[in-house]
């Protein structure tokens, strides 16, 4: 079996090497990839879309249909984590800490209810008290990370960035909160319902802008058709459309990042974890 594997790997490697024989030289300005379509994009993007970042224009406008499905893939990933990992069964063993005294209680019967909820906090078996330095530093950092995430989303059409990157940064700021405090703090502030709705809403903003263009009489995702709806310079409307879809992508990616994290660290129980 190992021998067959080696042979297959060698054959595939050989095929890939053989394929490189007729490839254009590295960085050759005359290669098909840099002459066939690239010229058109470089010459026309500024006048057609008024977006200085060519990559964003190709990604969100010329090939916006692909990007919409990439966002749907992200949504799918979040939903897959929910479907496969989410566990609604109550946990058998539960631990509570009496906050004023630090006494730990261990419940083996899942039906027992805590009465004095304010004085007790739910925790896991290997709970360690949150470190004050980490907590303080993260508390200061998180808002700045979030502002930066919004900046990355909003400036996608001028500088490197966009919805995917911005969404990941925003999501990671929330994950940092879960790591520096505990998962309960995050889940209390950002509920599962909120995250699921935002994940779907983000993709819906993208598809909705496209359908809007279709309703206005254009092709799907033809942002130029949205001009009558927005009080703006008609030449700039494509850039605004791209900003709109980037915001949608950002929201979806942010929500999915957190959904994946919460489901994986808490084994789908959403109560305790890293």
């Amino acid at each position: 079996m190992k021998f067959i594997g080696t042979v297959i790997v060698c054959l595939t490697g050989g095929l890939l090497l053989y394929g490189t024989m007729d490839l254009p030289d590295w960085g050759d300005p005359g290669s098909p990839a840099s002459t066939h379509l690239s010229d058109y994009y470089i010459e026309h993007i500024m006048e057609q879309t008024q977006v200085p970042n060519l990559v964003t224009a190709v990604l969100a406008d010329y090939r916006g249909y692909d990007t919409m499905f990439e966002t749907a893939v992200v949504f799918c990933a979040g939903l897959a984590c929910f479907l496969l990992l989410r566990d609604f069964r109550p946990k058998k063993d539960r631990y509570f800490r009496h906050v004023p005294t630090g006494v730990m209680l261990h419940f083996k019967n899942p039906d027992t209810r805590m009465i004095a909820d304010n004085e007790f906090e739910h925790m896991d078996k290997d709970w360690v008290p949150s470190d004050m330095i980490i907590k303080t530093v993260c508390r200061i950092l998180i808002p700045f990370i979030q502002i930066y995430a919004l900046y990355v989303v909003a400036h996608g059409d001028f500088s490197p960035g966009g919805g995917f990157q911005g969404g990941v940064i925003f999501g990671s700021s929330l994950i940092l909160m879960a790591i520096s405090y505990n998962l309960k703090t995050l889940v209390k502030r950002v509920t599962e319902k909120f995250l699921s709705i935002f994940a779907a809403l983000g993709v819906l903003i993208y598809v909705g802008l496209g359908v809007g263009a279709m309703v206005m009489g254009g092709h799907f995702l033809d942002y130029g058709m949205l001009a009558p709806l927005l009080p703006s310079d008609p030449g700039h409307i494509r850039a605004l459309g791209m900003l709109g879809v980037e915001i949608g992508v950002g929201i979806a990616v942010m929500a999915v990042m957190v959904i994946i994290y919460v489901n994986i660290v808490s084994e789908g129980r959403h109560d305790e974890g890293l």
């Binding site: 095929l15 890939l16 053989y18 394929g19 490189t20 024989m21 007729d22 490839l23 254009p24 290669s31 098909p32 990839a33 840099s34 002459t35 066939h36 379509l37 690239s38 058109y40 994009y41 406008d61 010329y62 090939r63 916006g64 249909y65 692909d66 499905f69 990439e70 749907a72 893939v73 949504f75 799918c76 990933a77 939903l79 897959a80 929910f82 479907l83 496969l84 989410r86 609604f88 319902k193 699921s196 709705i197 994940a199 779907a200 809403l201 993709v203 819906l204 598809v207 496209g210 359908v211 263009a213 279709m214 009489g217 254009g218 092709h219 799907f220 995702l221 033809d222 942002y223 130029g224």
Partner: protein
Amino acid sequence: MNNMPAILVLAPLLGALFAGLAAWIQKQLSYYIALTAMAVSCFAAVSVLKDVVEAGTMQYRMAGWAPPMGIELKIDLLNAMVLVLISAIAFLNLVASVKSVEQEIPDRAPSFYVMYLLFVVGLLGVSATGDLFNLYVLIEITSLTSYTLIALGDKDRGHLAALNYIFIGVIGASFYLLGVGYLYITTGSLNMADVAVILKGIQGSSAVLTAFILCILGVWIKMALFPLHVWLPNAYSFAPVGFARVVAPLMTKVMVYVMIRLMVTVFGLDYILDTLHLADAVVWLAVTAILAGAFMALSQTDLKKMLAYIIVCEIGYMVGGAWLGNDLGMTGAILHILNDALMTFALFLAVGNIIYMRKQVAFSNLPGLFSAMPWTMAGFVLAGLSIIGVPPTCGFFSKWYLVLGAFEAGAYHFAAALIISSLVCAVLFFKVFEICFFASAPGDPDHHVAGSPQPIHYIHAAGHDRAGGDSGAGTHPPAGVMAEAPVSMLAALGLVSIAIIAAGVYAGTIVNTIILPFLQ
């Protein structure tokens, strides 16, 4: 401007998103939203087919950009047929599956429907697109959703089957992507029609050959052609019924469509057949696939597994037909996409009905089915006869074209493999019919069945778990008492049975209005 090509892909996507949101208001809502979305998509697909038959190929520019710069949907006769097939089967299955889903995944049914719709979006998008990279993105959606839904199935073995499928599926998808990368380096374009024009000038290039081999290998892995099929039987037989019934008829057939699209539209048949001389080897591979699939099916003792191996065998038919290198063979292959999807769908619908009533379909669970579920078994027998290739059903006609094509190409080994596999299928199905009809029901005192008399224990446990401790799990009603599946399930099976006969009766019309004009 006609927006129907976009609507047929977007309706299920919007449906999925709204179904996801509506689940927070009321769980039942998401099913009805899914049903509406699929109905809209089905309507759009039929209207597109009608327009394409009347007015010729339809192009739709996404975001309004002209083809090589932007992405276009390009729907000719072949796509239009596949699109109608996908949306109709997905819609019917949604009607048929509501009870199965309630039984198998009661706590997360809304998410199941969202995932299901996204899977259908992927299949429709793959079939509608005229762009090589867009095809990859949509294959990614279909794969991701099918990994998830397969893992939702059998509690013990579903996860492992899905994991196996992920490993192999990811390799297949990356082969395809790598091939597209090579194509982009050599042509600078991703639009299928544009790439085809540029490729005409550089046919001798080794990079193009590499691209071709990588793309085709990737698609073969995804469609489970014989030596690359190992993921399929477990994945399809451990998936939840509601999903197995749509993935089994559609996923492999759509990948066969992608292969034919790459061969006919992108690389060109003359490049493949005249420049490369690979066709003979591939037909031999198809012969191996047919025989291996048929004989492996013969050794199964579980109905679902047996059908999964029959799919492996049928893929050999279509690949072989497409590579025979003549119009007859290609006609047979394309006709078989339609027919095999209908037959497999009917078989899996029937199996789903049996599972709904009896929880499992090992051969030891089948006795007495003809008296207990006569309508389901009528559909099952019809689909079985069609797989064997008995004349009034559609299976006969595509096999006829394939055999004619094989004789014209002088590929007698392919014709022989077709006939041998038909005989093996006859043995298989009559074995099943015999058990269902003649073997005494388990309730009888003189109960004896070929194979293990007692169902294996862990399936019992899984059945109990799913049905929430339902006391009926694993036990059978007494012999001779009707215990038929719900009407919604039977109605879908009835419609597909009619379609099987109709596709057979009108096979000539389908070939003359859709397949032959496409090949010219």
